[in-house]
Symmetry: D2
């Protein structure tokens, strides 16, 4: 079955698999003390325009969020995010399991607005009972958001400005970062991002790797003992080489961008196909996640040939369904979609 | 350089890499909802002689220990282990990060003795202040232990008996389980193990897989919401297929045993080589970790050709050094060792 | 200065102080193993119509909420409350510090509605990603609410019914319970309450005691090791006698009700005084907290003679201010208020 | 029955009860924002010779230990203490409930020795796997210890020197501080203590107050948001006035010292009485806890007239029993003891 179910329904880019095979007989020290990890970290720091190399590699997004957030916050501090933020909704309370409240503010189109943030912080600071409340210590945003939306350069800068004004860290979840960077209309570069937040991660799991996320602290902001914190959160991979090698491959010859661009191209073609067949979109995403309005019958019929997710029920018999492309999407996949829509 | 540094200094058995490559273009649902994971779980349950299939796959040992221990214990309960237990020493306080005390009892040869456990529990229960203390809720042992030692069938049974008498769970860390099962003198089978504890895990990371540990709850003992607990501990792999596929491969045609046996054979040859050259062992391990006494000069000289770990300093100029074999150790590796020792 | 600032701006009812003085030279075992505590627990269980005596005494509300919630929930479970709930807003993240998410649902007049709860739970259970989310494990409501409002018998029953349908605990925070029980229009008795929830606490700090809250588990619902859990949360008072003696006093000859009734009578007189002077109320509370709309100038002028809290800014120059009566409010206090309003 | 069971088997010094009664009708702001608390904090800072007033008041010892330790440590840091330390043994895992390991080192006579500490830290730092372990972040000692022993000035200074050398906080649990300061042979003053650690607490619960402990951070070492941390740990007393008033009383006209001296005098008389009757001591404590060796028969006989605790069984039929004096011990109590011993 052709699957538009997610961007982690696949394996890895061939370059990674080949290199895994080629280096399988090598021996290396564990826990990231290997030459691939060292090389990958340097390449990423360079790509981000950073003077210091404070790059760590973890296996997945939730564990990365836990380790980063818990390492930077004081006990009584919480992390602010948009009400649709991944840490607020889909991580089974991982951040709370570390003792920190997730303070969810109402978003607009799955994005946190600088003004909403500023209003909240002003209100908090003016509240005479604020010392009886969770102290805001960090802002978490996703780029792109969980619904595939983008922050513009000016929106990002405005948020960072509010963070700095109020003494909060800004942390950017880049689980699908490549797909944002390559999206039409995007004006945020990796270098710009790295100079407008305190820490972010570059997603590998959803962008070409078997698994892996690269955490980047920007210029001396890495917390003390971050290595130990990773271990303490159960997030230290014994064969660290596997992470280093994958990211070294992704950040060689611009592979990370090339494959991200491919996914975006596929997403734009997918949009056109849906439009051609008269479908409408519930969210107007410029990235690799596309949100199409289907009837229940259409969903049922399409599900025989295609895998995709129900995002949310809409009014009446309508459903908002998510179709996701990735570096692995093929022309054949899109053709099958086109035919399936035509056959409805 | 030839490395006896660890059993995670390598890649994966070729069968796994080949299968990863062969299935790379397949599409599958995430988080373990794929046919490989289902197949692997069934095979393992069958191999363990269990009627129910309560098998989960996680990436690494520390996160597995956190998720299992925290899911089974009440808040005020702690986990008892030997003072050399991995959770007590080398997990950066991961268990404590979940709120539970690790109660370390003195071990003998890196093993917890049933009598030590019984004495502790009797003393605890007789103590009038015991309700002001951490309640013992679980016993954790490693098989083989962190120093490569084995529990015999009767030793294991005695511990489990004490656990049941006092209402404690028994959890067995099998990070190197294959190497125990195949060790000379071992009389514990996988089926016996599965019927003499509440939960254990079968290590993949150190036994043939790129990464991965298979948690097995024995007959309806899996805690409610264990899937959600895994996620909450940041330990849920998006591409669960990778774990399922690796364990399905390891538990097809007895591969897990074959490769474990190979590592043990290599370890026994390594012992003979060291003995031939007049070296003595600080710990008399029957498994894949061997602990050799070297002088500082010998260590220095050998380190030019071989990678291995310092385990602990001994009296005088002596050092206890660890040499580890694995499924990946070659005859060539052993020959290099022999020559290096001969050249001292 | 006359203070309507809070109901914990005072000392204790004279009966308690006298008894403390009278028993000061007695010697008793610590941690609640004394005859006053035993007596108080029995009286409370009797008053609640319970067959079993599962009553524990803690010092304050936040620690009580932590200990109760954390002892009943599994790790991955969260507690649902109204968005104005004390645990959601004014406890500095104490519940999250124990690892549990506070799931805040929109309330109506500071109350959680059964239908809101039912809708949330139905939506949750229908959500295909629900195992990736925090599992709802408990509902927390306050009676009276943080804004002085009451649940009627039928509202309470409806909530409990939803809880039982979905397998959730119902926990009632009774920090000001006496003031609810004695409020005009209230139809919930202590016995009814005790038979329509799993656990609740009877507030002493705000109702006549120097400090203290009595936790009541209803008929065999007390979690295992609750004594140890109290200690583990730092909430076990060494001189437990102090708590037992206070509650024994409050639950002798209906003192708890008498003093609560006095506070309510004062609150009703306070309402009349404000009304007489033409003031309006922002919240129509039937209990001891009254919420009056003042201009900024009025607030400033009144603050010279009276202590009271700003509750929240309103539109324009208006402010919502809180005036609180208690068992300790005097006719003199009310007279001063009347004069101060007259002098505006 | 005459009780030597503990130093918290009593009420409060009459001065406190009287003042509570006298001020019962006053109105004050909550949470420590009252003039008694302000006054007490200033008096204590002055008494400690500190330039800054960083004094907070909590209700009990365990919650104080949790709040202080958790507020100062980073997540992956643990606290070192003697194996008989209160936090290691008798707090139900409260420190671990905040995520931190208690690293118990072998003590001598219930004391941690500077050399033991130095050896541990040197060993830790030299261990190549130290980043996989819990990072030592603080040293916790009790003065007097749980078994009534004292650190001399030079012992204390040596420990603090090791702490500073390795970058660790030194925290002193002074649950019975008064009894140490007034003990024969003690050469540590409050001022000396305050200048040789980072934080300590002055116990009230066991020294004259109904309850309460005063946490003193020494010169600008109070962590950010300590007020909020207290609340977050459920340890903020609503009627903070009660704590302030008690400590203000204890630190007026040297009352804290006078009553402590009384307890010590009684302890010395108690020693003489036991000696006169031919009893021996298992621990040679110079403070208010005395540890007498009894036979089981003697214990049984004495228990009819006196309350006291079994500390630990000894070899044969012998038992080590604890007899505790306090500010509340009377000449009559001692006379009863003398007679009871005589009647054996």
């Amino acid at each position: 079955m052709v699957s538009f179910e997610s961007d982690y329904n696949n394996g890895a880019v061939p370059e990674i698999l080949e290199r895994l095979a080629k280096t399988n007989d090598e021996r290396s020290s564990g826990y990231g003390y290997d030459r691939y990890t060292e090389s990958a970290a340097k390449k990423i720091a360079l790509e981000c325009g950073l003077d210091t190399v404070e790059v760590s590699f973890l296996v997945g997004g939730t564990q990365t969020n836990m380790a980063v957030i818990d390492s930077l916050l004081l006990g009584c501090q919480g992390v602010i995010c948009c009400d649709t933020g991944h840490i607020a909704v889909h991580e089974s309370g991982a951040v709370e399991s570390c003792g920190h409240k997730v303070i969810a503010l109402p978003g607009k189109d799955s994005k946190l607005e600088a003004q909403t943030l500023e209003n909240y912080l002003e209100g908090f600071e003016a509240d005479e009972t604020c010392l009886h409340q969770v102290q805001p210590g960090m802002v978490y945003i996703s780029f792109p958001t969980e619904a595939g939306m983008l922050y513009s350069k000016s929106e990002l800068d405005a948020i960072y400005k509010v963070c700095k004004k109020h003494g909060l860290y800004l942390y950017i979840d880049g689980a699908r970062l490549g797909y944002a960077l390559m999206a039409p209309g995007n004006d945020v570069t990796l270098k710009h991002l790295a100079s407008h937040c305190d820490v972010f991660y570059i997603g590998g799991t959803k962008v070409g790797a078997l698994f892996g996320e690269a955490v980047v602290f920007t210029n001396t902001r890495a917390p003390k003992f971050f290595f130990t914190e990773i271990k303490r959160h159960g997030a230290l991979l014994a064969k660290g080489r596997l992470l280093g090698l994958q990211f070294d491959t992704l950040f060689t010859d611009g592979l990370y961008y090339t494959i991200s661009k491919h996914a975006i191209d596929c997403a734009m073609q997918l949009r056109e196909i849906f439009k051609k067949h008269g479908f409408e979109f519930g969210i107007d995403s410029p990235t690799n996640q596309q949100f199409v309005i289907l009837t229940k019958d259409q969903r049922k019929a399409l599900s025989k040939k295609l895998a995709f997710e129900l995002w949310s029920p809409l009014e009446g018999e309508k459903l908002l369904c998510r179709f996701v492309t990735s570096w692995a999407t093929t022309a054949e996949d899109l053709k099958t979609l086109d035919e399936a829509l035509g056959a409805l």
